[in-house]
Amino acid sequence: MHLPSFIETQVLIIGGGVTGTALARDLALRGVDCILVERDDINAGASGRNHGLLHSGARYVAGDRDAAMECRAESDILKRVAAQAIQDTGGFFVAVQGDDERYIADFPAHCARSGIAARAVDVAGARALEPALSEATIAVFEVPDASIDPFRLSLESLAQARSLGARVMRRTRVTGFEREGRRIRAVRVQRGNGGNEVRIVASQVVNAAGAWAREVAQQAGVPIAMTYSKGTLLVTHTRLAGRAVNRLRRPGNGDILMPGGTVSILGTTSTRVDTLDDIQATAAEADLLVEEGARMLPALATMRYVRAYAGVRPLLGSSGAADSRAVSRGFALFDHEEDGLDNLATITGGKLTTCRLMAERAADLVCRRLGVTRPCLTATTLLPVDAASVWTGAGFSARDWMHSHHADDALLCECEMVPGSAVDAIVAGLRAAGDTPTLTDIGLRSRVGKGACQGGFCAVRTVAHLYQQGDFEARRGLAEILDFFGERWRGQRAVLWGEQLAQAELTEALHCGLFGEELRGAALIDVSAPAAPHGAANADPAGEAAP
């Protein structure tokens, strides 16, 4: 969209993760005008790189009772208001031989104290319901865990916010703050790389940049004590269990297997990192997860994995704490008044399950400062379904296509069964928001590239489709595929062994062997042309002659 040199608004939200988007919706529902800027895309950070587990709270009953009770309350609310993004799978807490007996013994009591319904299940019965459970299982409890699709949650929150007047600027980074006494006069942002700079004049600024909250605050000249914890997760080729399966022990590595529609998601690790640049899952982390996970579900040792991804949790507190899991997973809201600023707030920490609550608290503060008295409505208002945002859930488009596909609606992605109509709907949604859709945008809003082929085949079909629809022109398709693979690849290196390595080999044979994408510009050079530049110029002049 074309931007004037400065824009005015009541509230500027920095960060388009689950918190920022929930905040935009919260404010919009209260009638507050706001702009959300996101340096990358929706849920690009930890918001999109997690289990998708709507915690019943049981995981925290022993260590962090407040967090546990928060989770319980919030998950109940979300199951009510955002049902479309949630699958009420239920969850098991499973202990295997060698796990801490005392922890197991205390678990029911802990749950009871936090008001969480945990029911003991006899091991045989549990294994009948979840055949993948290990023979070494010694105790199983059932809890009201559920699976949630954070992308759909954020996209639909934002869609509603937008429908109420909120503005969204993707791929827009904050370049600086203009301070004036105890106030921030304006925030300078830049669209894309080398795009024009814009001043956003807002009476309130909320820093909801998640892991990047410290950097943003620093730009505003206020310090936040925050540490980073990298968590890696693996995506299986086929779904292994119907329920959320948690290891019944103090939180540790690879102790949650989450059903993600048609796949299972195994996680997570937790390692301290000091920088946010180029976070990628490593082979060592994948091995750790597989080995730990296999103790609870042995099939995980032989499973085909299609993907690995890593997110960074922002953890509040000094960088002293040894195990990053010991640091509270609760969230914090800073009003920065003692830092000398009256119109900046930072909301960070926390977790997916409590994102709505975090937004509510932040919105309350902002509204108080703005003198807005309208109450929060997000706990009671149903989240409306948005046609362009329904395609993120694994298995959704497959079922939808099976139930209602039209004679002329071809699949572009065969693995996840995404039809052309879905891509068109997403493109329409982005255009409506004044965006120019990219292949990567479509990937984030659908299952394209998320199946077994990881884009090897569907990227080609989707690009061809977009050209045909007139969405792409000139040489853009090639560039888009390069970007897309760049993004997909980050999630593959760590799981490339066995069948998935064969799949990757096939993808490379196609995209490098045949299409020569790695040659970039040179892939458009005709070596046989008399005056071919570059490589051909280096060709042996005696080339024509037989050796």
């Binding site: 050209y467 398709g477 693979f485 050796p547």
Partner: protein, 437 residues
């Protein structure tokens, strides 16, 4: 089981990819009796283009007009590369006889000259390759026309999801102004949402569908000097179909290779199987070698196959390992590392899995894992841990060999054909030419 066919031979070839097929063909041409185990699945992923050597060095992405010049450079700078071990003259001979055999089986290639050609791909990129099927060569000719690129019409079919003429035209537009595109409904498939290239190729082998298609394209020709189509011009009888299109349209017609599973791949597999049948190579499809052992009576080896009830035992005087890499399952990669699948031969490979792949998929220097593979001696025999030939009459050819990255160097077919030829030369020497089968 009384399969009715003998189960002893001079050479047993394990694997039926390009290298396996080439090895079996060259064995037969040298008068050696041959049994070939495995199905030709890998070939289905081929584009029908026969690369020799297009890029060297990989890290620089340098393209070569002359593959032989490239080979010379390779030999100088990368003597460990399998292709660098083969005499260029032998490579020329090997290619000639491979292409000739395909011709006999009805899959015609343009005459091989000493230079690489460029062929249009479905993505609008230009692929540097060596052997070009007759059905694609008009495109290459058009690209290198001395008088600049003539106007050309690209036609595609609604529903053929992986091929957009519009995309190709848009991608090459600035370098080829005369490139136009048109989309038509494939006759008889108007009501079908998803088209599959092989089904169209099959349909075009019927004269009626052919004529209807030509009639649809005819009025779109305009100023075009040639017509490009996705590679769907017939399967087993592509020669006749292509000829009919050129005659019907009165213009040169060329195919553009599509994404796997591609029609050219199916053609290549079909032609190679016909070659094997014609040369009396005994095939064992859908079965795999469970075990390979040196036999009590010296000079022969025993292969145990599974897939058939009770299994089957073959006896061979020499065995060629052409089992390919990971998708061919010649190499098995697990979290611990890479091993050779059949005998567990030592595999030259990176120290840790972290080093298998670059952080960028399209990193110019390529992925280390793709250079992993078997080390061999001068006689193409894979080495064991002690650096000695694992077996006196066991040979290895094709992509399973270490020290090459065929996908980046654009040398897949070259690697298969050249190494198969060279290895078979050794086999023939060792077995003393033709022998009992």
């Amino acid at each position: 089981m009384t399969s009715g066919r003998g189960n002893s031979c001079d050479v047993a070839v394990i694997g039926a990819g390009m290298a396996g097929m080439a090895a079996a063909l060259f064995a037969a041409e040298r008068g050696l009796s041959c049994i070939q185990v495995g199905s030709g699945g890998g070939i289905l992923f081929a584009s029908g283009l026969l690369d020799l050597l297009g890029v060297h060095p990989v890290a620089e992405g340098r393209l070569w007009r002359s593959p032989y010049a490239a080979l010379a450079a390779l030999a100088r700078e990368q003597p460990g590369h399998p292709l660098a071990r083969v005499d260029p003259g032998a490579i020329r001979t090997a290619f000639e006889s491979f292409v000739a055999a395909l011709g006999e089986a009805g899959l015609a290639y343009a005459p091989l000259r000493g230079r690489n050609r460029s062929v249009l791909t479905a993505l609008g990129t230009l692929k540097t390759t060596f052997g070009v099927p007759l059905s694609m060569v008009a495109g290459a000719n058009l690209l290198e026309a001395p008088g600049g690129r003539q106007p050309c019409l690209l036609v595609d079919f609604r529903g053929l999801r992986e091929f957009s003429a519009r995309q190709i035209a848009a991608t090459l537009g600035d370098r080829w102004p005369g490139l136009r595109c048109q989309r038509i409904d494939f006759p008889g498939f108007e009501a079908v949402p998803e088209l599959y290239a092989a089904h169209l190729a099959r349909a075009l082998e019927s004269g009626e569908t052919r004529e209807r298609t030509i009639a649809l394209i005819q009025p779109l020709l305009g100023d075009a000097h040639a017509v490009g189509l996705p590679a769907v011009l017939g399967l087993g009888h592509s020669r006749a179909v292509h000829a009919a299109f050129e005659a019907g349209l009165g213009l040169p017609v060329f195919e553009i290779p599509t994404m796997p599973t591609s029609v050219p791949g199916l053609r290549l597999l079909g032609a190679l199987e016909r070659v094997m049948a014609a040369r009396g190579v005994r095939r064992r499809h859908l079965s795999s070698v469970r075990a390979l052992a040196r036999n009590g009576n010296p000079g022969t080896m025993t292969l145990e196959l599974d897939g058939v009830p009770g299994g089957e035992r073959l006896s061979a005087r020499a065995v060629v390992l052409a089992t390919g890499r990971f998708s061919g399952r010649g190499l098995t990669a697990d979290r611990g590392g890479v091993r050779e699948s059949l005998l567990g031969l030592p595999v030259q490979q990176p120290a840790s899995r972290e080093a298998w792949h670059q952080r960028d998929f399209l990193d110019p220097s390529g992925h280390a894992i793709n250079r992993a593979g078997l080390r061999i001696d001068a006689a193409w025999r894979p080495l064991d841990a002690s650096g000695q030939p694992a077996m006196p009459r066991l040979y290895a050819v094709g992509s399973i060999l270490a020290g090459q990255d065929w996908m980046r160097a654009k040398c897949g077919s070259g690697l298969a054909i050249a190494t198969a030829w060279a290895a078979m030369e050794q086999v023939a020497d060792h077995l003393g030419g033709a022998g009992a089968g």
